[in-house]
Amino acid sequence: MSNNEHPAKPVVKEESFGYDRKTIDYIRNAAAHGMYEIRGMGAKRQLPNFDDLVFLGASLSRYPLEGYREKCSTKTVLGTRFAKKPIELDIPITIAGMSFGSLSANVKEALGRAATSVGTSTTTGDGGMTQEERQSSKTLVYQCLPSRYGFNPDDVRRADAIEMVIGQGAKPGGGGMLLGQKVSPRVAKMRTLPAGIDQRSACRHPDWTGPDDLAIKIHEMRELTDWEKPIYVKVGATRTFNDVKLAVHSGADVVVVDGMQGGTAATQTCFIEHVGIPTLAAVRQAVDALEDLNMKGKVQLIVSGGIRTGPDVAKALAMGADAVSIGQGVLIALGCNHDSYYQNGAHHDATADYAALGTAPGYCHHCHTGKCPVGITTQDAVLEQRLTPEVGARHLKNYLKTLNMELTTIARACGKQNVHHLEREDLVALTLEAAAMARVPLAGTSWIPGVSGF
């Protein structure tokens, strides 16, 4: 039989699973630049998340509340353990810490205005507190970070709560970065750095090294403020069960747990995608830790990292969080990744500016460049005019109100007069992974992997 009897078919283009085009691009970029990729936002890979859970609404075995007529409280109190003046919020949805430097002063002001109008808190970030955010925020949480850039006892005294930042979900174990194009003269002055340098923040605090030291550090903040202000401790989600226990041991009033979907303004991609655990898994561990110490309800838990929607908020609360914190969703509400911006009464197309960064609306993670096409993550005098505090605050207020209405809709459907009455028993999981991580039964079964037998 000759070879000609079975002529070769055209070779099908077969992409390698291991060496797909994304991996090939990665290797070629590494070879070309000798430098890892730095980018903004959070983990992009597919992860088990709150979408993998659903609520068991009321039916015959439970009694629902009437949609808009019956009361459903969203009031949230944080910092009841030691602080003389706990934080009282109208909704359990707060604005996550994002620095002036990563964000423009206009954006910081917009966050403050929107948060104040819906009765919630904003948070400073690496680089200190700006006048804009203090004036616009009724309730402002002041972060104490490893870098201590701009950290000032007057601002501690002006703050409503202090957040000791140990880490964040996008980069647990890593410090911040602010590349030179965003280290403007004002940012540089606040951080005591030369303008234009590629700034690296420390990953460890300069004056304490472990949980026993942290207890003394927190005590210092309490003495400094005459025990008035709640002290939060924020950890990036990794060994969350142990870390939350140690945060409680250190004297935290509130523990903030930030999962790996949490955003950043600039970090190595390898860090964002490969260090930390998903928020869903972290919430479960954090609540376990509080229950193990009999501290549930005494130390409050704030969960962040990929909270986008009202159902996300409701599920986090049902799993045991007292509040959530949102960063990326807030930026998207302001116009992040939108194809246009609104300036001088008209919409202007921004797609060419996205293209100049090598990206497009919906895909952009170029916060680190400072060239945000919609004027959010920038220090550029022209770009920052693309988002005014008025327009930003209006959109953000709408977003927060929507989340809160969705939250109460779900709570009412589950028969709760208070969103904090949502409980794990109201949830089931759609996937095995989510069932195991969240430790709720797979829908339609009583099976919780790792807890109950088949």
């Binding site: 630049h33 000798g34 430098m35 870098s147 201590r148 850039y149 950290f151 000032n152 006892p153 007057d154 501690v156 005294r157 590349l179 030179g180 951080r191 005591t192 750095l193 030369p194 340098i197 590629d198 690296r200 420390a202 300069p206 004056d207 304490w208 030291d213 003394i216 550090k217 005590h219 210092e220 003495e223 400094l224 403020t225 005459d226 025990w227």
Partner: protein, 229 residues
């Protein structure tokens, strides 16, 4: 009521600090003595008026932390983070200081008559530190601004990842950290050292000091830089 005294064996620290924050400025109290500190942490943190606090004995962590315009003198040794994040004023340790002395200071003068432990002047953002003895390893790590005078020796990795802070060392430097370099002393440097020694009440010849500052080669990402650790 010009002068007050608190016995920490009798009075809770919280009352002492609250007095220093509220009554001291309101009533014009200028001098406060603290006895029997017994290593208590957080003595005289957050001073916000020109009060003079004397601590008669050893202090624990963060003594004089975040000081603004106050004067704290410790007649003994100080624990970790003495005068951390000080904004202005003066903190003087008559004995030795532990780790992280003057960490993240923004201003003021920290004087340590004896030795200081690891990471003295870490993240320094301004102000001056004068150490009569030696400093431990990783001192002035990532120090951004301000000045340090070290009359004794320095441990490993002095001035690692320095920004614009300047260090003056009289004794031996076990090793310099990444991007730190020894530079020639100028007349202005000699004058600075003399000024700081005078302010600290120490007597040495400024000509015995070396200047350490940043080579500024880490200010921008550089793919060709060696990754040596």
């Amino acid at each position: 009521m010009e002068r007050m005294s608190f016995d920490l064996a009798q009075v809770p620290l919280r009352e002492v600090n609250s007095f220093l924050h509220q009554e001291a400025p309101a009533k014009g109290v200028r001098q406060v003595a603290v006895t029997n500190p017994d290593g208590a942490h957080n003595i005289a943190v957050g001073l916000d008026c020109p009060v003079e606090v004397e601590v008669h004995g050893h202090a624990g962590y963060y003594a004089g932390g975040m000081n603004k315009t106050g004067t704290v003198t410790i007649f003994g040794s100080a624990g970790t983070g003495v005068a951390e994040n000080m904004m202005s004023g003066r903190v003087h340790v008559k004995g030795f200081a532990s780790n992280g002395a003057g960490a993240s200071m923004h201003g003021g003068l920290l004087v340590i008559d004896g030795d200081a432990g690891l990471r003295c002047g870490i993240s320094l953002k301004g102000g001056d530190i004068v150490v009569g003895g030696s400093v431990g390893s990783f001192s002035a790590f990532m120090a951004q601004a301000g000045r340090m005078v070290i009359c004794g020796d320095a441990g490993d990795a002095l001035g690692d990842s320095l920004y614009e802070a300047v260090l003056y060392v009289r004794g031996n430097i076990k090793s310099l950290g990444a991007d730190a370099q020894i530079e020639p002393m100028s007349e202005a440097d000699y004058a600075t050292v003399k000024e700081l020694l005078d302010a600290a009440g120490m007597q040495h010849d400024p000509h015995d000091f070396k200047r350490v500052a940043s080579a500024r080669s880490l200010y921008h990402w550089n793919a060709d830089a060696d990754q040596e650790y």
